[in-house]
Symmetry: C2
Subunit: 244 residues, 2 copies
DNA sequence: TGCTGTGAACCGGTTCACAGCA
DNA sequence: TGCTGTGAACCGGTTCACAGCA
C-alpha cells in the first residue's frame, strides 16, 4: 500500500525538474511563451498569493458578461487597492490597455497559465483537520496544489478514507519523500506538534506549514510558516478596536 | 434560548469599557501597575501576537527548572531571532538584567498580566470547522480569547452541541451583537462566504477573520483578515524551492 | 478624458551593531 | 566578559502620484 502511494507521487513530478525560485520559473515560462515579459525575474511572494484571488474574481465578472474591467473594479471586488492590482499585473507583463482597462478573458488565461505552470506537492499530517479543510477549499485547490498523501500518528485514524486519501501512518513519510517531488508538509496535528515536526524534519521535509498553536524550532534549511489562528483572532480584535 | 445566550455575553464585558487601541490599553495597564513603562504607547501588532508564544516557551523552561534564560535561548525555542525577542520585551518594559538574562517567573507573570488584561470576544460562524478548531487550540485559548457563540446557516447543524456551544442560526446574530462587547466574527463557512459576510456586516460586526478561500468586499469601517490556506501552501512551496 | 504602468515615497516590521550595565 | 536595550540601517511590500498612451 505504501509502495503504491509512493509511486503515485512520481507521475505528478512531471515538469518539476529543478528547484529554482518559482517566480524565476514563472518569468522563464513567460519568456518561453514569447509574451511581453519584463526583465524583472522575481514576482513578490504576496503578489503570487493574490493571483488566485484575481482568477476567482475574473470568473465572477465573466459570468456577469463583462468583457473589460478596470483595476478599480477588480480591486473593489477583492477588497484591495487599485494600485496593488496594477502593480501585481505589471510583474507578469503589460496586460492592460491605458484608458480602457483589462480584457477579462485574456487576463484570466494569463493568470491561469502562470498558476498552473507549477504544481505544488505537499503531504498533509493530521487526519481530523483534513476533512474540514477539504470541504473548505477543495473546489479551488486542484489548480496548482496537490495533496499527495495524508498521514496521522493516531492509530484510530490510520487506514481510514477521507475524500480520496487513505490515512497512512507517519512512519511511511520517509518512503513517500524518497519518491521525490514533495515540497512541503502541512502540520495539523494538535498533539505533540513539536515532536511530530522533528519527525517531519528528520524525514527530509523542506518546509512546514504549521496550523497548530505550537511554535517550532527547526534547522535553518527548513522553512516554517506559522498560521496562528489564536494570534489572528487577537489581531482582528486589535484592528477593529483601533478603528472603532 | 437566544435571549439566554445574548445575556451570557454581558457578564463577559466586564473591564471592556472603551474601544481604544489595545496596545494603548496595555500601556495604561503597565502604568497603573507602576511598572517601568516606557513612554511608547503602541506595541506593534505582530509583537502582541508573539506574546503567547513566549508564554508557552517560558512554561517549558520552567518545567525544565530553569530560573533565568537569555534572549538567545528563548529565540531558539520559538524559531525567531534574539533581536526580535529583546525588541518585543522592550515594548513592555525593561524586564531583563544585562549580562544575565531574564528571570523566567517574572517574565511569565508580566506577559500573562498583559494578555489576560484584555479579553477578546468573538462569534464563530461555521459549525463544522468549530470542532476541529477546538481540538487544536482550546487548551491555550481561554487566556484572552472567548468564543461567545457559534452560528451556522445550515439547518442540519442548528441546535447541535459542539463543545460548550449550541449552534445557533445566523439570524440570531443581530440580537447577539445588540448585547455589545463582541469584537469580531470568524467566518468559517465554505459555502456562500461572500453572502454570509454581507449578513455579518449588516448585523454590525466590526471585524471578520476570513478562513474561507473567498475574497470579501466590505465597507471600509469593517476590517477583514484573510487566512488563505491555499495561498499559504503556495507560499510554503515557493519558500523552500528558493532555499533548496 | 480615463486608465495603465511605474518610479518614488512611504510604512511596519526585522536585523544589525554597539553602548552600557552587571 | 556576557547579555540587555535600542538607535540606525535595512527590507519587503504598499501607496502615491503622475507621465504617457488610447
Amino acid at each position: 500500500m505504501l509502495r503504491k502511494t509512493a509511486e503515485n507521487v512520481c507521475p505528478l513530478r512531471a515538469g518539476i525538474e529543478d528547484k529554482k525560485h518559482w517566480a524565476w520559473r514563472i518569468a522563464q515560462h513567460l519568456e518561453s511563451k514569447g509574451g511581453p515579459c519584463h526583465a524583472r525575474h522575481t514576482v513578490p511572494l504576496k503578489s503570487i498569493m493574490r493571483m488566485r484571488w484575481y482568477l476567482t474574481a475574473l470568473e465572477g465578472f465573466q459570468e456577469q458578461g463583462m468583457d473589460v474591467i478596470s483595476s478599480r473594479e477588480l480591486a473593489d471586488r477583492i477588497g484591495m487597492s487599485s494600485a496593488i492590482v496594477r502593480k501585481d499585473f505589471s510583474y507578469i507583463g503589460e496586460l492592460g490597455t491605458p484608458g480602457l482597462g483589462y480584457r477579462v478573458s485574456y487576463l484570466q488565461q494569463r493568470i491561469h497559465d502562470i498558476l498552473s505552470s507549477n504544481t505544488c506537492l505537499i503531504v498533509w499530517v493530521g487526519a481530523q483537520w483534513l476533512s474540514n479543510a477539504l470541504s473548505m477549499f477543495v473546489p479551488t485547490m486542484d489548480l496548482n496544489i496537490r495533496i499527495v498523501a495524508a498521514l496521522d500518528t493516531r492509530p484510530e485514524w490510520i487506514g481510514k478514507q477521507i475524500g480520496e486519501w487513505e490515512i497512512l501512518p507517519l512512519s511511511d513519510l520517509p518512503a513517500l519523500l524518497a519518491g521525490g517531488g514533495v515540497d512541503g508538509a502541512v502540520l495539523a496535528l494538535p498533539e505533540d506538534a513539536r515532536r511530530v515536526a522533528d519527525i517531519l524534519v528528520e524525514a527530509g521535509v523542506k518546509g512546514i506549514l504549521n496550523l497548530t498553536p505550537a511554535t517550532l524550532s527547526v534547522p535553518p534549511e527548513v522553512s516554517v510558516r506559522h498560521v496562528d489562528l489564536l494570534g489572528e483572532m487577537m489581531a482582528l480584535v486589535l484592528e477593529c478596536s483601533e478603528a472603532g
